[in-house]
């Protein structure tokens, strides 16, 4: 697959990555600290969306409970931190292991169902974690838990905003690279084949269930990573980070960006947060105080995207779904 080096999608993607790579320098130069924290959130949400894109985009499985991984990754870090274990070399592997375990359990049970039932059972499992967390009175219950950031002594200081941002960005680049490879690997081919025609794949001799389960586990690990980062970003975890609305937001991001396209999640996350940041002042400009009601515009926008712009931003740029 060769393509011209200067096609719009290559240019836009390269420009976007360059801006993101230099973001801490830019925000410092223009003295816009606030934008760095928005940028950090965009990068972390992108990682979560890349993870959802594996099962939703390549696997064709509409998981409505992906925010649970924010919570599991985040709470694993939070609980260890509350118990006095601050070392990232302990926290992060434990958090990843917990996410993988959860993904394996939910996947093994949910993948027995199809269609709407799959959507609802993944939602229900996420709600289960949500209520478990809000029942954890010892760790803040509904109010959540303030934590201190993971420590990597002698290596990184995550309290430094720029350092933390670059770590997140590096992890995003790694996950984008990995997912791009995965999509066209033997594994990815099976996953996409099953999205297109599950029965046919079985008749070819593929145990589809196992491949989908592994896809869920890979996505779960990546989702858990996003949760770890989110907890460290705000030094705070709460049940709200895995409410079902967040799961919906993740689906919105993946579809908005372009489903089943490698860079789709990145475009989606940038567009999602940019829309929020732009709609508010734009509405305020029209009439003072309207900014608060930005979702009254954003909601119908989602309806229009669902109805008329399925390919998302990626298709505008000429990407094809893998």
């Amino acid at each position: 697959m060769s393509e011209p080096l200067l096609s719009p999608r290559v240019l836009v993607t390269a420009l976007l990555l360059a801006v993101l790579a230099a973001l801490p320098l830019l925000t410092q130069a223009f003295d816009q600290r606030y934008l760095l924290s928005v940028g950090t959130r965009i990068v972390i949400w992108s990682i979560a969306a890349v993870s959802l894109n594996i099962i939703l985009g390549y696997g064709g499985l509409v998981s409505f409970g992906h925010a649970a991984f924010f919570g599991i990754g985040g709470y694993a870090v939070g609980i260890l931190s509350a118990e006095g274990i601050q070392n990232g070399w302990v926290q992060w592997p434990v958090a990843l292991a917990a996410s993988i375990l959860w993904a394996a359990l939910v996947g093994a049970l949910s993948l027995r169902t199809r269609g709407v039932y799959f959507i609802m059972i993944t939602l229900a499992f996420a709600q289960l974690v949500y209520y478990l967390a809000s029942g954890l009175e010892a760790y803040g219950g509904d109010d959540g838990l303030n934590i201190s950031r993971s420590r990597f002594p002698g290596l990184l200081d995550l309290r430094d905003k720029a350092t933390f941002y670059w770590l997140c960005f590096a992890l995003l680049c790694a996950s984008l690279w990995f997912c791009g490879r995965l999509a066209h690997s033997r594994f990815g081919a099976v996953l996409r084949g099953a999205r297109s025609n599950e029965l046919r794949m079985q008749a070819l001799g593929f145990p589809v269930f196992r491949y989908r389960l592994v896809a869920c586990i890979v996505a779960g690990a990546l989702g858990g990573l996003a949760g770890i980062l989110l907890a460290n970003e705000g030094a705070y975890v709460s049940p709200a980070m895995m409410s079902w609305v967040k799961s919906g937001d993740l689906i919105v991001i993946v579809v908005l960006g372009g489903i089943g396209v490698r860079f789709g999640p990145l475009y989606g996350a940038v567009a999602f947060f940019a829309l929020e940041e732009l709609l508010k002042p734009a509405l305020d400009l029209m009439h003072k105080g309207w900014g608060e009601y930005w979702q009254i515009v954003f909601g119908p926008l989602l309806v229009l995207i669902a109805l008329y712009a399925r390919g998302g931003i990626a298709s505008l740029l000429g990407f094809r779904r893998a």
Partner: protein, 263 residues
């Protein structure tokens, strides 16, 4: 004629059947869709299964492939009891199939379709990084498969852009990619033109030396040209089984099935 249904009639030179069912029963509510069906296919043989619509042919195929579980009876394939094995495991043993309704992966190119079929028989697919599009082992085997069914020139075309006849050919190329020992062909000629059908008949005739086939087909010319044995299914029950000549002469078959065909 009843005796003809029994394998004893073919004497002692008969090789061990590749696929055999023993008194298979499947009910849907009150409907007996498969009624004590015992049927077998030997290596290098084309065994045709015919019967009017609603005779239970698709239900039987479903049980053979593992998409439906029989209520009672056993299915043996390649010397093993496969009654409880899932579809993919049966395919691994060498049970290939083509679908009644064309069932290729529409969003994939022709060669990607066959490459996936090749991949299915090349160990596990838990390989995450290497690009399949540059995997010469898969691509070359897939191209050979396309060439064999006469689709070589259409390798890069998206499956949904292929003509109906071409999709049927692709379907067979996919079924053959795993070098199955037995092929279940569910109405391979459906929707094909006369010329395409004739080409497929010649192709299947040549294929016979490589694998046994269970052929479900409405095109009687094709059935009588290809089949070594024919079994007639009506209302889920075998009413006759034998050589094409025996079936042609069978009074019950003429009435129940061929009569309907000419009507």
């Amino acid at each position: 004629m009843r005796a003809a249904a029994s394998p004893r009639c073919w004497g002692s030179v008969v090789p061990e059947p590749l696929l055999s069912t023993d008194r298979l029963v499947k009910r849907f509510g009150g409907l007996l869709a498969t009624d004590n069906v015992s049927i077998d296919v030997r290596p290098g043989e084309i065994h045709a299964l015919i019967g009017p619509n609603g005779a239970g042919k698709t239900t039987l195929i479903g049980q053979l492939t593992g998409n439906l579980a029989p209520d009672s009876g056993t299915i043996r394939f390649a010397g093993r009891d496969v009654t409880r094995l899932p579809t993919h495991a049966r395919v691994r043993l060498g049970l290939g199939r083509s679908f009644q309704i064309t069932s290729v992966l529409r969003e994939f190119s022709a060669i990607d379709n066959v490459a996936l079929a090749v991949q299915a028989h090349d160990g596990h697919s838990f390989r995450f990084l290497r690009d399949v599009r540059r995997d010469r082992k898969l691509r070359e085997a897939a191209q050979r498969g396309l060439d064999a069914v006469g689709l070589g020139a259409r390798a890069a075309a998206e499956a949904s852009a292929l003509s109906h006849g071409e999709q049927r050919q692709l379907e067979i190329a996919m079924a053959l990619a795993g070098e199955p020992r037995l092929l279940l062909l569910d109405e391979p000629m459906a929707g094909m033109g006369v010329e395409e059908s004739q080409r497929l008949v010649a192709f299947l005739q040549a294929l016979k030396s490589r694998c046994g086939m269970l052929l479900i087909e409405h095109d009687m010319d094709a059935v009588f040209a290809l089949a070594d044995r024919i079994t007639v299914l009506v209302y889920g029950r075998i009413i006759a089984s034998g050589t094409p000549d025996e079936i042609r002469a069978h009074p019950e078959v003429r009435q129940a099935y061929l009569g309907e065909e000419t009507a």
